[in-house]
């Protein structure tokens, strides 16, 4: 328990550090937020009103103090560009990304884990080499290119799937249009499979060489039992780490895929905020992604403890 408390305290420090660093870095970016928002012909008067409205004419430490106070009260501020609460914008966009990226991550794991084990078992045989080829092709292919290829085939040529993600903002609205989910999820799944499967293959090869497997087989354990009870459980630990590291990616969206599939997600929100000097949105997104990173790592730590009793015992 001490271990988990210590990790949680470290996580809190990391989040605060991310907040401070992001705030400083964002305000060091050259250029005026007022100009970015108000446009080329903004008058000095309008710029002054804008700066006063958002407190940008105050010293940086005062602005930071106010920001921290806001955050502690559950308020991430108001977007300069849309003039909507940042939290509202994030809440509106988050479910879609969680659906697309969450489902694609789960699907990628469901494909990659057995694929990695299969390749490890069939190491250096034709099937292993073939799957290696597929993996490397997927791994090296930019997701936007892959997405465009899928759209060109299934939407433009065959016209059997729409080229856009569902336009609805709610989860139920998106799920009501399952055909529109196919291409974005397929794209995100396939580009993730390669990475996961490579790790799984390497870990499984490592485990397959361990003495305890030979012992298990010598005791008469079936190959299926060996694979599921011993190989899978021991070789999945690196994947747990990868999944933990993927969690912030699920929250932060996939800017390229969102752009290609006409989906207003977290990735585009963050990207647009960066180009528009929309500081509150940038800070809000960074904070959420920072928290997701910490939570992902903590979750991976907990899962390690569950999967590997040696960690639990070490903690005790």
């Amino acid at each position: 328990m001490t271990y988990f408390l210590r990790r949680a305290a470290q996580a809190l420090v990391v989040v605060i550090g991310v907040m401070i660093l992001t705030f400083i870095l964002i305000h060091l970016v050259p250029g005026s937020a007022a100009r970015a928002v108000l446009g080329v012909k903004a008058t000095a008067g309008r710029i002054a009103i804008f700066n006063a409205s958002y407190g940008l004419n105050r010293p940086l430490y005062v602005q930071f103090g106010e920001y921290v106070d806001q955050v502690l009260h559950g308020n991430l501020g108001v977007s300069y560009m849309t003039q909507q609460p940042v939290l509202t914008e994030i809440i509106q966009r988050l479910p879609g990304d969680v659906l697309l990226l969450g489902v694609s991550t789960v699907l990628a794991l469901l494909i990659a884990i057995p694929m990695g084990i299969y390749q490890a078992v069939r190491r250096n045989r034709l099937s292993d080499h073939l799957l290696d080829g597929v993996s490397f092709t997927l791994y090296s292919m930019p997701d936007f290119f892959f997405a465009i290829m899928l759209i060109a085939l299934f939407s433009v040529q065959l016209r059997i799937l729409p080229p856009e993600a569902p336009p609805a903002q709610s989860l139920t609205g998106m799920l009501a249009d399952p055909r529109a989910l196919v291409l974005p999820i397929l794209t995100l799944t396939l580009v993730s499979v390669a990475g996961f499967s490579r790790y799984m293959r390497a870990a499984a090869i490592d485990v397959l060489a361990q003495d305890y497997l030979r012992t298990a087989r010598a005791k008469g354990a079936s190959e299926r039992l060996v694979l599921f009870r011993h190989v899978l459980r021991n070789s999945i630990l690196p994947i747990v780490t990868l999944v933990g590291l993927s969690f912030p990616g699920i929250i932060s969206g996939a800017v390229i895929a969102e752009e290609v599939f006409n989906f207003q997600g977290m990735g585009l929100l963050f990207f647009q905020a960066a180009t528009e000097h929309d500081f509150p949105v940038l800070l809000g997104c960074t904070l959420i992604i920072g928290v997701a990173t910490v939570v992902g790592n903590l979750a991976a730590d907990f899962a390690y403890g569950i999967l590997d009793p040696r960690i639990r015992h070490g903690d005790a």
Partner: protein
């Protein structure tokens, strides 16, 4: 009003799409119409139906009250509000750049008292709730703006501060007494065309729970009403439910809106205008990229109207085969590269007219139009586009402008002013000094003719245009380095620099190309080329220019306008470059889309219908 902004990332995507199109050997020409002729064809007009319009990324509206605050982001809100609360003066009639008398809310406009008084007669039209549109609705707008002009997004130093008083002799007549005489063309086309009428009988409130009164008639009341309406106007969640926004006088009403910026109109059943909507609904959908929009068009989706980026012109013939028509629509605006005359390093060089002339002589606008834009661009001969403003285009501009492409002339100019010209290298000043044959005041010996050109990223044709300019400038040893940035990043770092203020933090830029600056119906230079104006980022200043601009606004005739136009074209406050057209795509069975009104972007869905 409408500006186009694209994500930088779209470049990669669009480039790939273009590459794919190129690989498939698609022809460009022959598929694009001129957008000025009607698409009306045989068949019986069908009542009902739906249309979906694609909008570019970044064009999501976020404010519904038609008088947005000073802190509001951009001009895209007008795309949402214009069809519900149209302006008093309606710009554009078909493809013509004239006032549209049928669509305008006035029945007559008369100038008197040496053009210091304007008498406006309103048409006997009604609001959607059945109440008549009256002169009180005009005074409501006037009172709100008079008390709040400093917090009005669209205030440019004219209305309401140019109005000394307003009289309403009867319910359909408004008399404006102006602070000075104005050219009626300018005042009608550029000032009254920015003023909507708003329903005083429904909106003159200080709170949601309070009743309607005449609160706007006092300054404090007008401030309270304005503050209330502004607060309501930014609440996206209530755009379709707030009773305020259900009272409209335009042809459409809002039926759906989401925070991504997608929205849907349904007809205002009590619209009094001549062109009652035929369609049942018009949906507006924001696309995250050009390629996403093009994919939707190519996949046979329900998308009815969209825009084909110049990068994707090779797709025109394919889209035509898919049941779309494609039309070329000249944009009513001016394009140019702005020289920073107060940049600490190159300002003294750019202040020399002969240098700007040499730079302009080296821009091959004709080739840019033909090779990069496939002919779908205005040549950019001066401050007024030749296409779309025939009434206001001077003979000089029509004949190609004062600076046709002439590299040898550019070299002669530089040589005559003491520069050692090194073609495809970097020319240097050999004869510093302020004499007529010297490099010019502030230019030191050995100074290099070298500039950085910033421009908006996200368009392949934009990249090609700037690269073409870079290449042609090199012929006279003008070294131009290119730097593309996303539009918002660009405008955040480029400040207004002039003799009075040119801080290093915002005046480090040397040359910048923002895209284009849109015009209203009267293409005046006020706000762009006059001394210390908001749009005059480079600090160009000339008493003669100021006087000529004033002459176009305060008095004037076509000759007065041409005098301003030719002087501006010659003085080069901007380096003139071509202005690419919009290429519009629409379902071939959608009647009424063309002719395209350049001031509404062709978006007049009340004119659209399908045939049986």
């Amino acid at each position: 009003m409408r500006t186009s902004r694209r994500l930088a990332i779209a470049t990669a995507v669009a480039a790939t799409a273009m590459g794919l199109a190129a690989c498939s050997g698609i022809a460009t020409s022959g598929a694009i119409g001129n957008g000025t002729t009607s698409t009306a064809h045989g068949g019986q007009k069908e009542q009902g139906g739906a249309a979906t319009i694609a909008w570019p990324d970044g064009s999501a509206p976020n404010f519904i009250f038609p008088l947005p605050p000073a802190t509001n982001s951009d001009g895209y809100n007008v795309n949402l509000t214009d069809l519900m609360w149209p302006y008093l003066v309606y710009d554009g009639d078909g493809a013509q750049s004239v006032v549209n008398p049928q669509e305008s809310l006035f029945s007559s406009l008369a100038y008197s008292d040496g053009d210091k008084t304007v008498t406006i007669k309103l048409k006997p039209w009604k609001w959607s709730d059945g109440a008549p549109i009256t002169s009180r609705d005009f005074t409501f707008v006037y009172n709100l703006l008079k008390a709040n002009w400093s917090n009005w997004n669209a205030y440019v130093g004219l209305f309401p501060t140019d109005v000394a008083s307003v009289q309403t002799p009867d319910s359909s007549t408004v008399v404006l007494h102006l602070t000075r005489s104005y050219n009626p063309d300018f005042f009608t086309d550029d000032v009254l065309s920015e003023i909507p009428l708003l329903p005083q009988h429904a909106w003159d409130k200080e709170s949601a729970a309070g009743g309607v009164g005449n609160y706007d008639e006092t300054a404090s009341g007008a401030k309270a009403v304005y503050a209330f309406l502004q607060k309501q106007g930014g609440d996206l969640a209530t755009f379709t439910t707030n009773p305020l926004w259900k009272v409209t006088d335009g042809p459409w009403q809002l039926s759906a809106f989401n925070s991504d910026g997608d929205y849907t109109y349904v007809p205002n059943k009590n619209y009094s205008g001549p062109d009652k909507p035929t369609l049942d609904s018009v949906a507006n959908e924001i696309y995250t990229s050009d390629s996403a929009e093009l994919d939707a068009l190519r996949s046979g989706s329900a998308l009815t109207v969209g825009t084909l980026p110049q990068n994707d012109l090779p797709q025109a013939s394919v889209l035509k085969g898919d049941g779309y028509s494609i039309a070329n629509q000249p944009i009513p605006g001016v394009s140019g590269i702005i020289p920073n005359l107060y940049n600490a390093k190159v300002g003294p060089v750019l202040r020399q007219l002969y240098v700007r002339q040499a730079l302009e002589d080296l821009i091959d606008r004709t080739q840019i139009v033909s090779k990069i834009y496939d002919g779908y661009a205005d040549p950019g001969n001066g401050p007024v586009p030749v296409a779309g403003f025939s009434e206001w285009t001077s003979p000089l501009e029509k004949s190609g402008g004062p600076y046709p492409y002439d590299p040898s002339k550019a070299i002669s100019l530089l040589t005559a002013h003491g520069w050692k010209v090194v073609p495809n290298g970097t020319s240097t000043c050999q004869r510093p000094g302020a004499g007529a044959a010297d490099c010019g005041a502030g230019i030191t010996a050995g100074e290099r003719l070298s500039f950085q050109l910033l421009y908006s990223s996200g368009s392949t044709t934009g990249d090609e245009e700037e690269a073409s300019i870079q290449s042609s400038e090199a012929q006279a040893g003008v070294a131009v380095s290119l730097k593309a940035e996303p539009f918002n990043s660009l405008i955040s770092t480029v400040g207004v620099c002039n003799s009075g203020s040119h801080p290093a933090s915002t005046c480090g830029w040397q040359l910048v190309d923002f895209g284009y600056d849109p015009y209203d119906l009267y293409p005046a230079g006020d706000g762009i080329f006059n001394t210390d104006s908001n749009g005059n980022q480079g600090g160009y200043s000339s008493p003669e220019e100021d006087a000529l601009i004033n002459a176009t606004e305060y008095g004037g005739s076509a000759q007065t306008f041409f005098a301003y136009e030719d002087y501006t074209a010659e003085q080069l406050p901007w380096l003139w470059v071509p202005q690419a057209s919009n290429i519009q795509v629409y379902k071939s069975d959608l009647v009424g889309y063309a002719p395209l009104n350049p001031f509404t972007g062709g978006l007049n869905p009340e004119d659209w219908y399908y045939t049986k």
